[in-house]
């Protein structure tokens, strides 16, 4: 029971980490709260549903969702955030919330208010492997999450692009003075963050076998809470915070407290505590 719940928690934590990563990456470079990131997450799931017609293979479906979501992320940066760059920070935030609402309504208009299944086929029969502790589906989600997080880690810490992001975050004018194409670096930041959110959408759709217009609502606010917990802009703090929330949720639902405290509220209780006690996040300094 303990180990099962731990695996449940880590699985959800992995998904939260994937969704939150893009949010925190964008905040890290642009200082914008990119709420409509959760819309990109839901879009990923819908792209997954459409991609099923091409191929039922999970890898193909995920890659397609990542591609489309990555491009949509870049378009948002170009058309939504870039024109608002000079204005006060509340303006892009409101635009982002509006964009998110628009996306949810578009999903409803395009696909109807139904819950759609996402019956992908998993390569190597990974989903058939079932032990007493971890189900095949969890293995699929966990291994995908690990692959994507390692990819993000590599790009952030070991490529020039990652270095350019760090430089842009600290002083974009100086970064430009040393040859960094700041605009392109920011676009790449949206591309990677949004692609990973799209993959998370497919994984959640697959895990619960359901895709619906408002599936981004709870992640939108939960990811925000997790990003603050991890210290906005702090990628590794975010991953750890995501795992913590996932695990706490998993154990809470089987404890007596779970009877009156709904699962989705944990992140916010933690958020309130952290804002009161450690306003720069769990791992923040200053």
């Amino acid at each position: 029971m303990f180990w099962q719940q731990l695996v449940n928690g880590v699985t959800m934590g992995g998904i939260y980490a994937l969704v939150t990563l893009g949010l925190t990456m964008v905040y890290g470079v642009l200082r914008i709260l990119h709420i409509s990131h959760a819309g990109v997450f839901a879009l990923g799931a819908y792209i997954g549903v459409v991609a099923l017609r091409l191929s039922p293979n999970l890898v193909v479906v995920t890659l397609l969702a990542m591609l489309v979501c990555g491009l949509v992320g870049v378009l948002m940066q170009r058309w939504l955030y870039r024109p608002l760059l000079g204005s006060s920070r509340i303006v892009p935030l409101i635009a982002s919330i509006g964009m998110f609402t628009l996306m949810e309504d578009l999903f409803r208009l395009a696909a109807g208010p139904y819950v759609l299944p996402l019956p992908v086929r998993v390569p190597f029969g990974l989903d058939e492997v079932t032990t007493s502790v971890v189900t095949g589906n969890q293995l699929v989600v966990l291994s995908s999450a690990v692959i994507l997080l390692v990819l993000a880690w590599f790009v952030i810490n070991h490529t020039r692009l990652g270095l350019a992001w760090k430089a842009t975050e600290q002083d974009f004018e100086t970064a430009a003075a040393f040859g960094v194409n700041v605009d392109r670096a920011v676009a790449m930041n949206f591309l990677l963050g949004s692609a990973i959110a799209g993959a998370a959408g497919v994984l959640v759709g697959f895990y619960y076998n359901s895709v619906y217009p408002t599936m981004g609502s709870v992640p939108a606010y939960k990811a925000m809470a997790i990003a603050v917990l991890g210290g906005l802009g702090n990628v590794w703090g975010t991953v750890i915070a995501a795992l913590l929330i996932g695990i706490i949720e998993a154990f809470l639902v089987i404890s007596p407290v779970g009877l009156f405290l709904p699962r989705d509220s944990i992140a916010f209780v933690a958020l309130i505590l952290v804002l009161l006690l450690r306003p720069y996040g769990l791992f923040g300094r200053r």
Binding site: T159, A175, A176
Partner: protein
């Protein structure tokens, strides 16, 4: 401009590297630069002096493409760079340091220099996949840190260094671009006498390595010993240009300085 004499120095016959033609810049009515024309030849150390607010930093910012001038144009290696923007001019080989130090404070000293090392790929596909931890690149960055005497501080966060050392780090970071033209904006400000002398030596080595240098500096000893040619700005207007000795005896220059600083 009667005192604006072009002198044929021993380097004078070399090719023109940078040319500014009637460059003007206004900020909401403030005329920071007015019709400034000058050319810098390959291999020169070219000094820009003038009282506070004369437009020296503005001139550098226009050369680097931080903002475009309101009039006139800038040519680098005979190419019009007036509106290229700073990332492109950096990749063409124009590097700079800042009057007020601008390190990336939450990055290590080594990473600061590595940012400069990446200029050739930042706009390209290999910028995405290329790793910056490759040994050859790190070696180059470490060599530059050794050159400015900062190799021992490679792993320190830049923001933790005292200002004097951050200035030296800025020089290393600028050299990481393999620049053809290096712009130094008051590199000796806040340095001790000994540190200034080190810096003069460093600039001479850089110049001997084939880099053309433009330097803004208030320390006249430094300017006189380093520069092959000097341009004097006053209220955004170039009032004189020539070799150091000629400039120091120029009555208009003396007037501009005495009028401001004495």
């Amino acid at each position: 401009m009667g005192h604006d004499v072009e002198i044929d120095l021993d380097r004078g016959h070399r090719a023109v590297l940078l040319e500014m033609r009637r460059v003007s810049k206004q900020f909401h009515g403030v005329r920071a630069l007015q019709d400034v024309t000058l050319s810098v030849r390959q291999g020169q150390v070219f000094g820009i002096v003038g009282p506070n607010g004369a437009g020296k930093t503005t001139l550098f910012n226009i050369v680097c493409g931080v903002y475009p001038p309101t009039g006139g144009s800038v040519f680098f290696q005979s190419r019009d760079i007036t509106r290229l923007g700073s990332a492109r001019t950096a990749r063409m080989g124009i590097a700079r340091t800042f009057q007020i130090v601008r390190s990336f404070p939450r990055m290590t000293v080594l990473d600061n220099v590595l940012v400069g090392c990446g200029h050739r790929v930042y706009g390209t596909l290999s910028g995405l996949v290329g790793t910056y931890n490759r040994q050859s690149v790190r070696d180059k960055a470490m060599d530059l840190l050794k050159l400015v005497g900062l190799d021992h501080a490679a792993g320190t966060l830049a923001g933790k260094l005292p200002i004097g050392l951050q200035r030296r780090m800025e020089v290393a970071r600028a050299l990481a671009l393999d620049p053809r033209l290096l712009l130094l904006d008051e590199p000796c400000a806040g340095l001790t006498f000994g540190e200034s002398e080190d810096l003069v030596g460093l600039v001479q080595r850089v110049r001997d390595g084939g880099v053309t240098v433009m330097i803004v500096e208030h320390n006249m000893g430094v300017v006189m010993s380093l520069c092959d040619e000097i341009a004097v700005l006053d209220f955004g207007v170039k009032i004189a240009q020539g070799p150091p000795l000629q400039i120091s005896s120029n009555p208009r220059v003396i007037e501009a300085y005495l009028g401001k600083e004495a």
